[in-house]
Amino acid sequence: MTKLADAIIVGGGIHGCSTALHLCLAGMKPVLIEKDYAGRHASGVNAGGVRQLARQVAEIPLSIHSMGIWERIEALVGDACGFESHGQVLVAENDAEFETCRARVAELNALGFTHEELIDGQELRRLVPAVAESCPGGVVSRRDGAAEPARTTTAFRRKAAALGATVCEGVAATNIRKEGGLWRVDVGADTYAAPVLVNAAGAWGGRIAAALDELVPVETVAPMLMITSRVPHFIDPVVILRGRKLSFKQFANGTVLIGGGHLATPDQDRNETVLNWRSLAVSARTVFELFPIMRGATIVRAWAGIEARTTDDLPVLGPSVRHAGLYHQFGFSLHGFQLGPGAGAVMTELIVNGGTQTRIGDLSIGRFHPSKL
């Protein structure tokens, strides 16, 4: 049976769910199709960093827009999402790294961005008392923080459904095509038809785009994370290192999340990842050196989420350059969680108003068009 909708969203990650929610707020009736369940992959199992810090310039306007939504997240989705704003700190471990930090902040200031702030060793140790004496300083983004990813994605999905979105979980969207001026997608025995199709399929987004003749150089990756048992509270902000691959966050319950981008081997078709314990050991060694308090903590779980990374580490966000009514929102390259709320709002502006005040031009899929390469 063919069912009509105002928009079809493929992918129930934070991006698809956020777009579904914002479309509902704009008075549309979208259908969201998720082959597993909302938040099953990267959106539900990422580090939960809500970070404007250390982003590429091309996505800073979107990140800032999103931050504003994070700060009123409970009013939007009816759940606090575990969002805490204790800042995020980038630590320079030596003078060379500190100089890089100084240049970066100067560059942002020249562009008119002020969210990143250079801090000296004294302020660094005030923010992160456990950090080694030898670190000369770093960068802080004070409004940043962290949230609980599965809870957040679930809250967006739930609110979207409550506002009238149809959410189909556990069935894949297949046979995506445009017929008679409408996008049509088979979902089990049903077919959905709508004038608008949003490709928010994360690690699977590249395949959908390719099937519609829009090639995006995207690889499937699976960044690994581990969580420890509870340790006494010792750190508030999220800490990332300038030089080494490490991000570090202590939750209110005392558990500590250790990440930083070491990769597992993804198996996209099995929905599985195989962890690389030797890389995780590298992260463990870094934490061991920097935070002695962590040495006796136990690792209770390690995992990896499957997501898409583009060659320029920037997402694909905006209308298709080939097909009317097709929009892309994928390829967030390991840092899409914070962008989710804002990207859904911006996507809704694009769909409903045909444009947005948020500067996202550099994120267009057009940058991968054969004429540009």
Binding site: Y37, G39, R40, G44, E148, A150, R151, T153, T154, R157, R158, A161, E169, T228, S229, R270, E272, V274, L275, W277, R278, L280, A281, V282, A284, R285, V287, F288, M294, R295, G296, A297, T298, I299, V300, R301, A302, W303
Partner: protein, 472 residues
């Protein structure tokens, strides 16, 4: 016996030195395969033959002849070429057959061409009001103390639950001079009828006469209340009393120790963490791996034997261990396999050994109210999540155990759902009117047992470093 693996690769790695693991190791090693047996305990034997090589209990009658049967198998394994490492925690295994092992606070990895999981069984959760109070423990934990240290309860003790192991434990406690004030038998009366069709097979099984004799022995010494349909532990900070209802009778009895047991379920934690396919077994009310006739799983190169493959008891475990090992030998050393008894012989023994299992499963099927708690009864002990919390989450959209984590953190604490998994699945299945198979289980991940950050940090960087440490 040694502390770290001598090699970095083996033909066969067997995980668990209970009946299945010992039998698999003996068979594989005898066929000339390089075999590593990894076991978490201080000595071989698993739970059923715990401390078989070291128990201070010397009077053989007290632990029963079945217990001592393990000694011969241990002897065979110890005199074989197999390498045995005790106190080894396997905390990781993946589909590339790389095994992460922790021994004495040091981790190492070994590669295997075949892995035989013989991880046995875990006690089924028994979530009654007050079950997390100090003074309430599982019968299995009590049996561990009894076998390894000869410790038995001497305060006011109540045993509640059902199943063969409950009676075995009661008999063992009494024989060692321990105290039991009351046994509260939770077997549902209806189960006796339901089990009747399987009774003939059971009567011809080896369990029948032994089981009957044991129950008679216990009943002669301890008052037993049958048909218990409600159970609660209470106390201020520790157990003080046990309240039960049976038929029209309701009573509160003082108690210092409450031992709970309602059967065992396959320990699937490691198998699930590898990504091995499992299915819900409605007769045993638990998950079991999907296996072929040789014990092979959905992950190439990994087999499961023993109670981890589905509860069958020690006799069955030994045969399944031999079958899995024989399949590994066929794959890795066909010439050696030709000299072994044919698979059909093993299968005939297996058919004999599992006789009577349907009767036991049906008779000792735990009652719904003791598997699926209500109200304020704790389900997830780590995060202190109650049955009501979970039902509330289901009401607003949680569909399965993994989704539930986004609502109430069940299974996210130190035990990672190892204790509450079955309860959560059944509770959600009931709440959503779905089958447990449809509801599914927690997605388990390594480390299957926690390791310290310091230990992980000390994992050597490169293959060469790994070998240097492993060989050192």
């Amino acid at each position: 016996m040694n502390a770290v693996p001598r090699r970095d690769a083996y033909d066969v790695v067997v995980i668990g030195a209970g009946p299945a693991g010992l039998a698999a190791t003996a068979t594989a090693a005898e066929a000339g395969l390089s075999t590593l047996l990894l076991d978490e305990n201080a000595g071989p034997g698993g739970q059923v033959w715990r401390a078989i090589a070291s128990t201070p209990v010397t009077d053989r009658d007290r632990l029963g002849t079945d217990y001592w049967a393990g000694a011969d198998l241990v002897q065979t394994v110890r005199s074989s070429a197999a390498e045995i490492i005790q106190r080894a925690t396997v905390w990781s295994l993946d589909r590339h057959l790389e095994v992460g092992i922790s021994v004495g606070g040091v981790s190492a990895f070994v590669k295997a061409r075949r892995v035989i999981l013989a991880t046995g069984a875990l006690e089924r959760p028994f979530p009654i009001p007050g079950w997390s109070l100090p003074g309430v423990m599982t019968a299995g934990a009590a049996q561990t103390m009894l076998k390894s240290s000869g410790l038995v309860p001497d305060g006011r003790t109540v045993i509640a639950g059902q199943g063969p192991l409950l009676w075995l434990l009661a008999a063992q406690i009494l024989r060692l001079g321990g105290r039991i004030d009351r046994i509260l038998d939770t077997t549902e009366r209806w189960n006796y009828l339901a089990a009747l069709p399987h009774a003939f097979a059971f009567m011809t099984s080896p369990y029948f006469a032994k089981g009957l004799a044991m129950m008679r022995e216990v009943r002669a010494k301890v008052p037993v209340v049958s048909g218990v349909s409600e159970l609660a532990a209470a106390g201020d900070g520790r157990l003080a009393s046990v309240t039960y209802a049976a038929s029209s009778r309701r009573e509160t009895i003082p108690a210092e120790l409450l031992l709970l047991h309602q059967g065992v379920a396959p320990n699937v934690n490691l198998a699930m963490a590898v990504g091995i396919e499992h299915r819900w077994d409605d007769r045993q009310l638990s998950w079991s791996p999907v296996l072929d006739g040789c014990g092979n799983t959905s992950v190439a190169g990994i087999a499961v034997a023993g109670d981890g493959a589905g509860i069958g008891g020690a006799g069955t475990a030994v045969i399944r261990g031999r079958i899995a090992a024989r399949a590994a030998i066929e794959a890795l050393a066909p010439a050696a396999a030709a000299k072994l008894a044919p698979m059909t012989t093993f299968r005939a023994s297996l058919a004999q050994a599992v006789r009577g299992r349907a009767f036991l499963d049906t008779l000792f099927r735990p009652a719904r109210q003791f598997r699926i708690p209500t109200g304020d009864t704790i389900v997830c002990r780590c995060e202190e999540v109650t049955a009501k919390d979970i039902l509330d989450a289901v009401a607003i959209g949680a569909t399965g155990p993994n989704q539930l984590k986004a609502y109430c953190r069940t299974g996210m604490g130190p035990c990672q759902g190892r204790l509450c998994g079955l309860t959560v699945t059944e509770l959600m299945a009931q709440a959503r009117s779905k089958s447990p198979q449809e509801i599914g289980y927690y997605r388990l991940r390594a480390p299957v047992k926690p390791i310290t950050l310091a230990e992980l940090a000390a994992v050597p960087k490169t293959e060469a470093d790994v070998q240097a440490v492993v060989r050192g």
